[in-house]
């Protein structure tokens, strides 16, 4: 197995933390601007490699993490495609999670992000909060009702088992394993209307 410096560090980290090492077990909410006595922004950070979420260049990025919080994100210098470089969107990927408050100068979670499930009821003009459990239960019920009411078992003498009433859009944003699960989830309830960002 080829090991670069970075891969070696990761391999050691993995060995240290066991098979689930690539998932962090704890997350600290206490983070803020780096204290001035630390001479280096990335002091005591762990590095994780990732791939940019914009165009299809597949540029490598390195996420520097301290105490479960993202401290920095920049190009992966070992990556053969981007050699550590990132375009403006890639260079701003850190901000998807954390941004600098322009009033206080402190680093905070991006307020534009929604991090709780929401539901909008019929005829209402705003969102309501909903728990994950309730949201999933309600969606499952919707799927069953819609599917059972609109299901074609046989067409032209052929077993077809599809529902015309449910559509699914997307997949180009997800990882491939997720794409497979989305595809599988949708096709196994009989969905024909599957499409993704390949065209739009």
């Amino acid at each position: 197995m080829e090991l670069t410096r970075r891969a070696f560090l990761q391999a050691s980290a993995l060995a240290f933390a066991g098979s689930m090492a690539y998932e962090l077990s704890t997350q600290s909410k206490a983070f803020g601007i780096e204290s001035s006595e630390e001479d280096w922004k990335l002091v005591n950070t762990d590095e994780y490699t990732n791939i940019c979420c914009y165009c299809s260049g597949g540029c490598g990025v390195i996420c520097s993490v301290r105490d479960g919080e993202l401290i920095n994100l920049e190009g992966d210098p070992d990556h053969p495609i981007n050699e550590g470089c990132l375009c403006p969107k890639g260079a701003a990927m850190f901000q998807l999670r954390n941004i600098v408050d322009d009033k206080t100068g402190e680093i905070v979670h991006n307020p534009n992000r929604i991090t709780k499930p929401l539901v909008r009821r019929a005829g209402k003009s705003d969102w309501e909060d909903i728990s994950w459990d309730d949201a999933i239960a309600e969606i499952a019920r919707h799927v069953k009702t819609t599917r059972d009411e609109n299901f074609v078992e046989v067409e032209d003498g052929v077993t077809v088992n599809y529902t015309p009433a449910i559509g699914s859009m997307g997949g180009s944003q997800q990882n491939s394993e997720e794409e497979y699960l989305i595809l599988k989830l949708m096709r196994q309830i009989g969905v024909i209307g599957i499409d993704n960002q390949a065209r739009v």
Partner: protein
């Protein structure tokens, strides 16, 4: 992409046409610059003088939507000036194949032979070959296809190989070469200039420069993106580029190929994974009512008579085995009937069609996974009204998108909309792990760096929650065809928790024996060559075979091919075979057999990918052809060079002319759906097979009302509908508002000054944006008439805390391509006025 990003450095000429690669695929700039530093020439053909054009050696303007005229002219130029690569074209393409004598193209009507005016479809029989001889598969126990007769393999009648007639002299009037030569003889330089709007000197310079790569030692690459594809003949645009690359012998070369710069991070993966109506993972076809109602029919209809796709039943049975697990047996056709079949009106279920279905109250529930059709699809104001017919909508995303809040749109009345909308907060890319593919088909592993903020969850976890909840309901209450759901294998857990790694096992493929996901035990397949049609192997997507194949450490991606980080670069060609994994089988440049001549000697030693040394193949890249064969006794021996350079085709030669497209055997120029001028190349204004053009919602505009050509595009600072990038303050700061680019001439005509607010409108909508008046945009003279074109960026909508704007896709027409169903975003009509 047939190549990959690093490969651009090997090109002698780079043609950017239909992409704005510096702005929208900025990493390409690094590799284009490397090529330039080695002396390459860079041509940019674009309606606008972009930041990409600013750095190119040659810039040539082109009216949006006229690429086939441009490339048709290039083909004509190559043929007329004898600049094509003779040995390559003669041996590796179907140039010498004889076509059915009934084939015809009628210039006056713009129709090919086989047109049925009632169904408005082509019967492609007359586009096919004349047959020389027929042969059948040897499925005996010692035959090449002995596997067909083995136990467990579904019964099917193997296809008959019809060897085509050929004329190696290329003189026969029915041979592909003569038909093609004749077809493009109308595409003269003057004609192309008249249609596309550039001047003949510039065009000829472009043709001459690019055609220079017909020199066998040289390679030219074409970088394209949605500028080529987002037309109602976008697939033909792509095909004609392939033809050019074949004529010049560039396909399969290092620094050559046809390179789609794809726009989404994992759109390559989504396409591979068949997140489309008609597709099945790995570019197979999903079962349809019309052609493949049974597994037997599928095997008979889909399996090629020769070439690598003779193996399709292996891929399909393995797919069904992975999909249904133990529930799939040879006795029940491996569960084939439980898969939903695409009905005859399957086209209606693609993106554009789904909104019509909603509008007709046929589609009632909708999932949007990180996609934003209420802002990104064409004719979005219609789409929003259609979505209001939905009973329910589920959106999984990072932020409030236009889709999640279509009921909050300025033109919608929430009190009248009864759709129940669920927003599921998704984890960011570095808050979860998994595989992503780039345009170069590289599968790379993403490591999770941090936990999702608050209650956000990865999409895989959402899928799991939904699957379990739905399956529970059917288990408890029963319902329509509940076995479809309950027989599906869904066991991708590690320590009881949903996890992407077992899914990776499924995608890579595994031996059924020795595998038990529930026990964390898996016998991974080395590659797709190990797949079998007898139910002993399982695989979710055959082309990924080998990306995650180390059974010794199935839970450690770093010890899998996908997690490799090696920098070896044999041949110094930027192939990096030990970095991650590239499908298929870690091939970095596909069709690489074509990088060497008939005797297996590289056209250019410096760009050696594969080479026959007289007794074996010496390789820098994994051979994308049958380089070795396995004998009955299990030994392998090399296969000496032959002409089978394109073994994914049944002919094993590349197709200059094809029956594979629905709308034309040879790309022919038609005007965009909405165009200010008449088609002067043939008698049909639009492609006869344009999709959805007759839908009421389209509201076609004509040039008397809306004389200005508009095209939509992205800028480097933002991305797609801006849902992600507008949430990044640093990006809003460097590109705060939506603008259109227009010429000084048009601005003067309309009394518009730079930075003015302007209104852009047509029958479908009206948007207010800023005007950027610039010399970089120049009016075109088409057929002697002045045609103005504006460029519109499309990254805004009403959502977001930091930056909002109008939805530009309210203006785009919801018509599409008959092969890919892609909408025509790149050329439509509008008018502009000062706001």
């Amino acid at each position: 992409m047939t190549g990959h990003y690093c490969d651009f450095k090997n090109a002698d000429v780079i043609l950017t046409c239909g992409s704005n690669n510096l702005e929208n695929h900025p990493v390409s700039s690094k590799w284009v610059q490397r090529a330039l530093d080695k002396g390459a020439t860079w041509i940019v053909v674009d309606p606008r003088f972009t930041r990409t054009a600013a750095q190119a050696d040659i810039y040539c303007p082109i009216r949006s939507g006229t690429d086939i005229a441009f490339y048709g002219g290039l083909i004509n130029y190559i043929i007329e000036n004898d600049l094509w690569q003779h040995e390559y074209v003669l041996n590796y393409t179907n140039a010498s194949y004889l076509i059915n004598p009934d084939y015809n193209f009628d210039v006056s009507t713009g129709l090919f032979s086989g047109w049925d005016p009632t169904t408005k479809k082509y019967d492609t029989t007359t586009w096919g070959y004349q047959t020389e001889s027929e042969s059948t598969w040897d499925t005996s126990s010692t035959g090449t296809y002995s596997w067909v007769s083995q136990e467990g393999v579904p019964e099917f009648t193997p296809p008959t190989l019809k060897t085509p007639k050929k004329d190696p002299t290329l003189e026969d009037p029915n041979c592909v070469w003569q038909i093609m030569k004749n077809h493009y003889s109308r595409y003269t330089i003057d004609k192309v200039c008249e249609v596309c709007g550039m001047d003949p000197d510039t065009l000829e310079l472009v043709y001459k420069t690019y055609a220079s790569t017909g020199d066998p030692a040289k390679s030219g690459t074409i970088l394209y993106a949605l500028g080529q594809t987002q037309h109602h003949y976008g697939s033909e645009n792509t095909r004609i580029m392939c033809m050019v690359q074949l004529l010049l012998g560039n396909a399969g070369m290092a620094g050559g190929g046809v390179n789609a710069l794809r726009g989404e991070p994992n759109v390559q993966g989504a396409t591979d994974m068949a997140m489309m109506v008609y597709d099945l993972p790995g570019y197979l076809h999903w079962p349809t009512v019309a052609s493949t109602p049974t597994l037997r029919a599928w095997c008979e209809h889909e399996t090629y008579s020769d070439g690598y796709y003779t193996n399709k039943p292996k891929f399909m049975v393995s797919f069904l085995k992975e999909w249904f697990g133990d529930n799939a047996t040879v006795g029940n056709d491996y569960g084939y009937d439980w898969l939903p079949k695409v009905p005859k009106n399957g086209d209606d279920y693609t993106t554009i069609g789904t909104f019509e279905l909603m509008n007709k109250d046929i589609m009632k529930g909708y999932f949007a996974w990180g996609q934003n059709p209420a802002a990104s699809d064409p004719n979005t104001s219609f789409n929003r009204r259609a979505m209001a017919h939905l009973d329910w909508l589920v959106v999984a995303d990072w932020t409030e998108t236009a889709t999640a809040t279509f009921w909050k749109a300025p033109d919608m009345d929430a009190s009248q909309i009864n759709t129940e909308v669920y927003f599921l907060p998704a984890a960011l890319i570095y808050e979860k792990s998994g595989t992503i593919l780039n345009s170069g088909r590289w599968l790379q592993w993403r490591q999770k760096a941090v936990e999702p903020v608050d209650q956000a969850k990865p999409d895989y976890e959402m899928c799991d929650l939904l699957y379990r909840a739905i399956a529970d309901l059917y288990r408890k209450e029963g319902g329509k065809c509940s076995e479809q759901i309950l027989n599906t294998k869904w066991d991708y857990y590690v320590d009881g928790k949903i996890d992407p790694r077992p899914v990776s096992w499924a995608l890579n493929g595994y031996n059924v024996e020795g595998t038990d996901f529930s026990k964390g035990k898996v016998s991974l397949l080395n590659g797709f060559a190990n797949l079998k049609a007898d139910g002993s192997t399982a695989n979710g997507i055959w082309i990924y075979g080998g990306y995650y194949n180390n059974s010794d450490a199935p839970l450690d991606p770093a010890q899998q091919p996908v997690g490799r980080r090696g920098h070896d670069d044999p041949g110094n060609l930027g192939l990096y075979p030990k970095w991650a994994f590239s499908w298929p089988a870690n091939r970095r440049i596909i069709y690489n057999r074509a990088s060497a001549d008939l005797r297996g000697q590289p056209w250019n030693e410096d760009k050696m990918l594969v080479k026959w040394d007289g007794s074996k193949w010496v390789t820098n890249d994994v051979p994308d052809f049958a380089a070795n064969k396995t004998n009955a006794d299990g030994t392998t021996e090399p296969i000496p060079p032959n002409n089978k350079a394109f073994f994914m085709k049944w002919e094993q030669n590349a197709n200059l002319m094809t029956t594979g497209m629905k709308d034309a055997p040879l790309p022919e120029f038609y005007e965009p759906f909405e165009s200010p001028v008449k088609n002067t190349l043939n008698g049909s204004q639009n492609s006869p097979m344009i999709k959805y053009a007759e839908n009421e919602s389209v509201k076609k505009g004509d040039a008397s009302q809306y004389p200005i050509v508009a095209t939509t595009y992205s800028i480097t600072e933002h991305w797609q509908t801006g849902a992600q990038t507008r949430m990044c303050p640093a990006l809003d700061e460097i590109a705060p508002q939506q603008f259109i680019e227009m010429s000084e001439e048009l601005a003067a005509e309309k009394g518009i000054k730079n930075n003015d607010d302007v209104r852009v409108f047509n029958n479908r909508g009206s948007v207010k944006v800023k005007a950027l008046v610039t010399k970089r945009i120049r009016p075109f003279t088409i057929n002697g008439q002045t045609v103005h074109q504006i460029g519109m960026i499309h990254h805004w909508d009403w959502t977001n805390m930091f930056s909002t704007g109008d939805v530009v896709n309210d203006l785009t027409p919801n018509v599409g391509d008959p092969n890919s169903y892609i909408p025509e975003y790149k050329a439509f009509l509008v008018d502009v006025e000062k706001a």
